[in-house]
Amino acid sequence: MIAARDVAEDTDSTGAENVATVLSVEALGISVRTEAGLQPLVSDMGFALRRGETLAIAGESGSGKSITALAIMGLLPAPAVRVTGGRIRLGETDLTTLGERALQTVRGNRIAMIFQEPMTSLNPVMTIGTQLIEAIEAHDPLPRVEARTRAIAALQAVRLSEPERRLGQYPDELSGGMRQRVMIAMAIALRPDVLIADEPTTALDVTVQREVLDLLRRLQRDLGTAIILITHDMGVVAEMADRVLILRDGRIVEEAPVARLFESPRAAYTRELLNAVPRIGSGAVQTARARPTGMPVARVQDLSVAFDLRGGIFGRVTHRVHAVEGVSFEIHPGETFALVGESGSGKSTIARALVGLVPFSGSVEIAGQRLGAGRHALRAVRRAAQLIFQDPKAALDPRMRVGDLVAEPLVIHGIGTPAERRGRVANLFERVGLAPADADRFPHEFSGGQRQRICIARALALEPRLIIADESVSALDVSVQARVLDLLRGLKDDFGVAYLFISHDMAVVENIADRVAVMYLGQIVETGSRDQIFRDPRHSYTRRLIEAVPIPDPTHVRQPVDRPPSEIPSPVRRIGDPPNRRSLISVGHGHLVAE
């Protein structure tokens, strides 16, 4: 695609430090075998990693960043995917020529890797201790007692509380952040020369991400490990990296020291990528809207959702998950109301309750119809409010043509003749930026962003009053995300629809929301206009959330806080021990804060 390597290079701005190169990749090519012959996944990849440095490999999905990491580890899914050229040199050894046996001594020992999803990388039926000690013993034949001491030291290094007790625990007894710490402990236990972190914080909440990033940085300072950080998040790049490789379609588009990259990106693609990144504080200046006086589209009062947990031999209800606890809000026509919070805060449960997918107590009124007032009202609500899910692939029936999927809401609610419906589907396809001819294809033939457009078209089919977007842009690449957000904004103006926008991403929320509610453990802790929340956050949790967001600006200095892992307290409580309801106090102009 790119004829000559129009790679903007200025690697040696930090001086000639080639002496300390620990890992070098030269002209690496990786291909996958398909029916149509060998398809290149990565071509002409080259970089040098120096001791103690963090090299970020950034790019959108399909750019070849994870495949490169797997190639370095010798973990490519052979025989379908394999290295077709080039060298990977660790010190003096060329890893591409090593056999599996020799690679095993390199893996973990000299190069370690941490993956995105800590739960799937840990064996759920073995204790943390067994897994850690096994990893140590595999490379270092130590007496058991000594290996155990090393394991405890590694857990201390990653700041896990009570390391001795952790050794006896199973992975599912730990939270996501703690599991990722265990993975890091495993990776550093043998003091590898190179640590490859593949999207290490993508599956974590922002406040936990903050802690893990701080931890990685501190470990690097102490141990001098070279880190290859693979990420799609330019904020993480800005905070962590010394040098950055920008990848696209398996090729290096730009290589630069981090400050230079953000200050004056040379490649057009890098500029595009950086422009698409949502930034806090870049949201359009809010026009002071008169508070709408009309009937709210949605009125939620004292909404609670609880799930019973059964235990004991008689299967009695012993505990209850208080997913949502006494939440009230209103959404006005044409308004975007955002719910933000970390995982387990109950925001998705609210989305499901609003369309009658989970039983609840309290009152929900949408477009004048009270949910729970019989089948007729439920049907009316399901026409007036539409839900868009996070993962469009999971939300579309893979066996139906997308045209039928978009027409389905019309069929269900008996709207129009078949010919009218087809016309409407064609219009909707055009409106969301797809070709009407695409209607005959199946969901798997589209990309992630296109699939989300199909879901949006489906949601618009009934001309709803309210669209509930549950993390609807979270799974998309930044450039795609920016375009989908633009689309959602445009639709709001055209159709006069109101949004309930649910997200964990503070930057995205700041860009799209008119009003915001911050949720913590099933309750709203602060609510107000976007400016009130982001310019004048009053609750300590809101402040922590905003501060935790990585900022795509390498000049932004942040004091690393060396915190032990903080845990979000559990919403699971014993029967007869309900959580305390927080009461909201007004601090003026509709800005409410929990005590």
Binding site: R352, V355, L357, L387, D397, P398, R399, M400, L462
Partner: protein
């Protein structure tokens, strides 16, 4: 709807067109056609009457004749022409294989999908009943049922169906419960789709591959179960031939007259194989995500 149904028709035609391009499917399909044709035309194409005992069909010592001569596949212990009996046996075996198996699939799907989709009390009662049926020895159950009803071809088919639905229902139950949890089902409910639409438009199409595989696998088991029942005297009553009872009548003479077991056995295997091949091809072609894989 005209345009939509046109394109629907075109899609279905192209499924057939694509099936034709699979040699294994064509092979299986041809064998099925031959078996069905043989069954329908049995009186016309078979060289003799099915229960005619031929005087020259036995050796002087009274042993059956090996294949060749006037009896292309040999004769059985009573001097009857084996080819004729296999052709007539195709009638019984196809009825059992298709009707009994079809009925078993229908009951199994109904019970499994209902239990898996609605769960709760309905599901618990249905599945405990299924477990009970599964724990009960199938053959014993078949014997009991056959003893209650008067043995005839259709009763035997019914009995086999009542024994064989259990596995299908169990498997479809598990699949339905996991399908029901999938997000696109929640999405359907959120736009107001009723149970009927979700079950028939969104759940059943996903179960189709499993149903097809179990259906084709079930053909050989049902044909053999019929043989077992015949052997116990509660299946198809002699002298009416079925592939199963030809094998069982003659199995003790396997060493002396192996053709008596080999030919009907080969017929069962080939029929089962044909249905399997066609079923596999159909399963792949009906799945839009698999299309164009090979």
């Amino acid at each position: 709807m005209t345009n939509a149904s046109l394109s629907e028709g075109a899609a279905r035609r192209s499924v057939i067109a694509r099936l034709i391009r699979r040699p294994t499917a064509v092979f299986g399909f041809s064998l099925i056609v031959i078996a069905v044709a043989a069954a329908i035309l049995a009186p016309v194409i078979s060289p003799y009457a099915p229960d005619a005992q031929h005087f020259d069909g036995l050796t002087i010592e009274g042993a059956p004749l090996p294949p060749g001569g006037a009896y292309p596949l040999g004769t059985d212990l009573l001097g009857r022409d084996l080819l004729t009996r296999i052709i007539h046996g195709a009638r019984t075996s196809l009825v059992i294989g298709l009707a009994a198996n079809g009925l078993a699939l229908l009951i199994g799907t109904l019970v499994g999908v209902t239990a898996g989709y609605f769960r709760g009390w309905t599901g618990a009662v249905l599945m405990r009943f299924t477990d009970l049926m599964m724990a009960f020895p199938a053959l014993l159950l078949a014997i009991c049922l056959a003893a209650i009803f008067q043995p005839s071809l259709w009763i035997v088919a019914l009995v086999i169906a009542l024994v064989n639905w259990v596995q299908t229902s169990r498997i479809l139950y598990t699949e339905t419960t996991s399908l029901t949890e999938r997000e696109f089902i929640a999405a359907e409910r959120a736009i107001g789709a009723g149970h009927g639409r979700i079950l028939f438009r969104h759940i059943l199409p996903h179960l189709l591959p499993t149903i097809i595989v179990w259906g084709t696998l079930g053909i050989s088991t049902t044909v053999l179960l019929e043989a077992t029942l015949s052997y116990l005297g509660i299946g198809v009553q002699p002298p009416m031939p079925s592939w199963g009872n030809i094998i069982f009548e003659n199995q003790t003479y396997f060493q002396a007259a192996p053709w008596l077991v080999f030919f009907p056995g080969a017929a069962i295997v080939l029929l089962a194989l044909s249905f399997n091949l066609v079923g596999d091809a159909l399963r792949d072609e009906l799945d839009p995500t698999q299309r164009g894989r090979d």
